[in-house]
């Protein structure tokens, strides 16, 4: 294992210290328990939007803390959900009197820890679970669909709603509408190596790819020979389109995401193909996001996320955001 780390035991803390140094104008990092909080929290009268999850998906979630997105993020150990006391600390530090909305990715550990925190919190807390990964099909016999790329879009749109003054019930309702309109799928060309494990999470031959990969290296639908970029994009896009389903005339946000190790040159190449395939089907791409925003350490691979937009979602997407990883309109 070759990584720029001092000690697998302290990798998350050490990274958080660096994050504080880099972005002290936007956020404050607390280490015990670990919570990344927007610098001007709590914002009086505003619903606090809080998320969190295992580290290793950066910039998710800490990189989205700031005006117009998250009030706080709770980073767990690498690929491990945060603990209830982290979530409680986040609520206490950010609740400006209007309550808090927890955005939880659908993994057993995340749901259990956030649920426990919600039961212990003294503030008014609601939570919304995001489960946009179409790769997991058989929901009755699994822990259900995973929360993946749609989380980034959800945090941006609901963050903007809270910023304009929507109350807790409105933020929650909007969040559920976004969850109902967003679908994702990813693929991996290489595995990632978790620092405290030291060896790759799974084996993948040089000429193979895993289609339907999760963001922790969970297996996908199938393992197939590596094809052309066009074939890869179609492998992801077709199941996404069939699932919602998306139809001709839909207006969408297309989010082309790197799993961490895939460079932008390949990502833009893939994004261009996806735009063309959508145009061929009569689907209008109204907004887009391209880059590494929800990653799986150094894994090579990509995911596509499609969100069916309405006018309100478009205006919330366009609203000002000022965070380490997303910034416009300010």
């Amino acid at each position: 294992m070759k990584k720029i780390i001092n000690d697998p035991e302290t990798v998350v803390r050490d990274a958080l210290r660096g994050m504080q140094a880099a972005h002290s104008d936007l956020l404050t990092v607390h280490l015990d328990p670990a919570v990344v909080v927007r610098a001007d929290a709590p914002v009086r009268g505003k619903v606090a939007i809080i998320s969190g999850g295992g580290a290793g998906h950066e910039p998710l979630h800490g990189g989205f803390v700031g005006r117009g997105m998250l009030d706080a993020a709770c980073p767990g150990a690498v690929f491990t959900s945060p603990t209830p006391d982290q979530v409680l600390a986040a609520v206490e530090r950010t609740d400006g009197g209007a309550g808090a909305l927890l955005i939880v990715k659908n993994y057993t550990g995340d749901v259990l820890n956030f649920e426990t925190a919600g039961e212990l919190a003294e503030s008014e807390v609601r939570s919304v679970v995001i489960d946009d990964d179409v790769a997991v099909k058989d929901s009755l016999y699994t822990a259900g669909r995973r929360g993946v790329g749609g989380t980034v879009l959800l945090e941006k749109i609901v963050g903007a709603a809270a910023d304009r003054g929507d109350d807790l019930a409105a933020c929650e309702a909007l969040a559920r509408r976004v969850v109902g309109s967003v679908r994702s799928m990813g693929l991996a060309l290489t595995s990632c190596t978790v620092p405290h494990v030291g060896s790759p999470s799974f084996e993948l031959a040089d000429d193979e790819m895993e289609v339907g990969i999760g963001i922790h290296g969970e297996p996908g639908r199938r393992r197939v020979p590596v094809g052309s970029a066009t074939e890869m994009v179609a492998e992801l896009l077709d199941p996404i389109l069939e699932d919602l389903p998306f139809a001709a005339g839909d207006r969408v946000l297309l989010f082309t995401n790197s799993m961490g190790g895939t460079p932008l040159i390949e990502l833009y190449l893939a994004h261009g193909i996806a735009e063309q395939l959508l145009a061929d089907r009569g689907i209008t791409v109204e907004r887009r996001l391209v880059g590494p925003y929800i990653t799986s350490l150094e894994m090579q691979g990509m995911s596509l996320t499609l969100l069916r937009l309405d006018d309100e979602m478009i205006s919330l997407w366009d609203a000002p955001v000022h965070t380490p990883a997303l910034r416009w309109g300010v």
């Binding site: 767990g76 150990a77 959900s81 057993t108 426990t116 997991v136 822990a143 999470s201």
Partner: protein, 208 residues
């Protein structure tokens, strides 16, 4: 002979040593069908527990179990944190303020722990989880009359068998469930850690 707060603390220290010793094994089991963090998460939790036990002396068995619960909930993360935390919290409530526990109280605590795990995790026997180890342990404990050591030993034997029974199962809960049929043929790490903990408690009770 009953089991005092000091006996519970000794058993917890023994359990922490067992977790440390089996950390890599649990990581490997979890790497095969999960996300490779179970051994490390439990090690972190039980290491934190050791420092809490160094700092304070629980006044009763129930208080000691509650200390385990709060420590694991705040340090483990993953699914194991809330599940083990809930198990110890319910066990603590079941034994109340008693200064000493007999075999029957221990069996009752195990029953309460199982109920807590099922309430929180919603798993049933056959889902390939810690419930597959804990359920037979509770049954065995209930029918094993006698000393704390006898009850725990019966529970530990049953838990070991229950853990082994997860090997052919297809996971229906937790991250292993994403593997579907590919999860068969692997020992469930949560069931394994449950069996390890009960064996550590039983050995500590037998030596006390």
């Amino acid at each position: 002979m009953g089991c005092t707060a000091a006996d519970v603390v000794a058993a917890l220290r023994a359990a922490a040593a067992v977790v440390q010793e089996h950390r890599d094994e649990l990581v490997r089991l979890d790497q095969a069908i999960g996300d490779a963090d179970h051994g490390e998460n439990l090690r972190r939790g039980f290491t934190a527990l050791l420092s809490r036990l160094d700092a304070e002396e629980p006044a009763s068995p129930g208080k000691a179990l509650k200390l385990v619960a709060t420590t694991l909930i705040s340090t483990v993360g993953g699914a194991a944190g809330p599940l083990y935390g809930t198990a110890f919290l319910r066990a603590s409530a079941a034994v109340g303020d008693a200064a000493e526990l007999d075999g029957e109280a221990v069996a009752r605590a195990l029953q309460a722990a199982l109920e807590g795990v099922v309430a929180r995790g919603k798993a049933v026997v056959g889902d390939k989880t810690m419930v597959d180890a804990l359920t037979p342990a509770v049954t065995a404990a209930a029918s094993a009359e006698g000393s704390v050591a006898g009850v725990l030993s019966a529970a530990a034997d049953a838990a070991a068998e229950g853990a082994e029974s997860t090997v052919p199962m297809v996971a229906r809960k937790g991250r292993a469930s994403y593997l579907g049929e590919r999860s068969a043929g692997h020992l469930d790490p949560g069931a394994r850690s449950t069996a390890l903990l009960l064996r550590a408690f039983a050995d500590a009770a037998a030596g006390a």
